[in-house]
Amino acid sequence: MSTALWIAVAVSAIGTLLMRVVPFLWMQRRLNSESGLNNMPQWLGILGPLMIAAVLGVSIVPVNPSAVSWIATAIGLSVTLLVWSRVRSLGWPVAAGVAVFGIVEVAAFIW
């Protein structure tokens, strides 16, 4: 890799890091200031959970989209939701969802 390419990697890395760090530190300072700006803007509090929903939407698309993988996704998500409604935790619903998704994929592969 040439020097120019390493510089491109470094600039991209520093730029990405700054986008993660600067708004965080700015908000921490704002929340702890005595200027009266102690609350986080309402829109930001709404955008946070919506970002998680957006990441969910993006990750729902199977690696290799096909009828089988979409059916496996629907079944896997239903099982995840079902287990979550019973246990209300993160670990078991994910494990159950992945296991069922895998069983459907493997079964379809064998047949």
């Binding site: 890799m1 491109a8 990697v9 991209s12 730029g15 990405t16 890091l17 986008m19 993660r20 760090v21 708004p23 965080f24 530190l25 908000m27 921490q28 704002r30 929340l31 702890n32 986080m40 829109w43 930001l44 509090g45 709404i46 955008l47 946070g48 959970p49 919506l50 970002m51 998680i52 929903a53 957006a54 990441v55 969910l56 939407g57 993006v58 990750s59 729902i60 698309v61 199977p62 690696v63 290799n64 496996a72 996704t73 998500l77 995840t80 939701l81 979550w84 409604s85 935790s89 993160l90 670990g91 619903p93 994910v94 969802g97 992945v98 998704f101 895998g102 994929e105 493997v106 592969f109």
Partner: protein
């Protein structure tokens, strides 16, 4: 005994590690693919691993090596990489009130990816304040380490790995939607949140399907926010009309 006195940083960090394990189901296959794609684009194992360690942002890394491989000008490669990562600017402020002040944040925030943010925003409010720093450290370091190791393995043995276990690369990434579903599910008890969340998920799904995956997250979240405020506006207007009628 007070909460602070009984707190063990190592135990909190290990709790973070344990709770971040489901993220690996998504991280490892994508990291393996990145290592493979980067070597196919002409990067060495060391270079691919360095890109993963330094930039540490999945979608933009694929774009970075893809554009370099096609001979795009470097300034454009950097500009596009940063443009894709702009969505990260809203993650930090959302966590600012949940995490204690520390001089370590300038380097620790390097671990604030989409997935780590989602996990932290869900879990941190449920943890005692003294545990949060160590929890974030454990969770983010595990994710970062898995991303780097996955890239190195993908660059050295990616082709053999995917040939031997073709289905594993399809099954493991399902851990991500399953995990995110358990994170958004509690919000569906509120009607307005349910509408906004549903709209966001659908928009992100559609944008990804039409090939706009790189901008799907901020665009879909903006759609959801619009939906959230429209529903509020509609509810208020409906209530005002009913009051007038009665």
């Amino acid at each position: 005994m007070s909460q602070a006195a009984s707190h063990s940083p190592v135990r909190s960090a290990l709790q973070g590690v344990r709770e971040a394990i489901p993220l690996l189901g998504g991280y490892i296959p994508v990291a393996l693919s990145f290592g493979l794609v980067a070597t196919q684009a002409g990067f060495s194992t060391l270079e691919a691993t360095a890109i993963s360690a330094l930039i540490y942002a999945g979608a933009s890394q694929f774009l970075f090596v893809g554009m370099i491989a096609t001979g795009a000008p470097l300034w454009l490669v950097v500009a596009m990489t940063l443009l894709i990562n702009v969505r990260h600017v809203v993650y930090g402020p959302n966590l600012a009130g949940l995490l204690p002040r520390s001089r370590h944040w300038p380097w620790l925030m390097h671990g604030l990816t989409d997935q780590v943010f989602a996990l932290a925003l869900t879990r941190l409010p449920q943890l005692p304040e003294v545990k949060r720093f160590s929890w974030f450290l454990g969770a983010s370091l595990l994710a970062w380490g898995a991303w780097i190791i996955g890239t190195a393995v993908g660059a050295t043995a990616g082709e053999a790995f995917t040939a031997r276990w073709p289905l594993l690369g399809e099954i493991m990434p399902f851990a991500l939607p399953a995990l995110f579903l358990t994170m958004v599910a509690p919000r569906f008890t509120d009607k307005r949140w349910a509408v906004a969340m549903g709209c966001t998920i659908l928009a992100a799904l559609c944008l990804t399907l039409v090939g706009w995956g790189n901008v799907a997250i901020p665009l879909a979240a903006a759609c959801g926010a619009l939906c959230f405020y429209s529903t509020q506006f509609y509810t208020q207007r409906f209530a005002t009309n009913r009051r007038r009628e009665s």
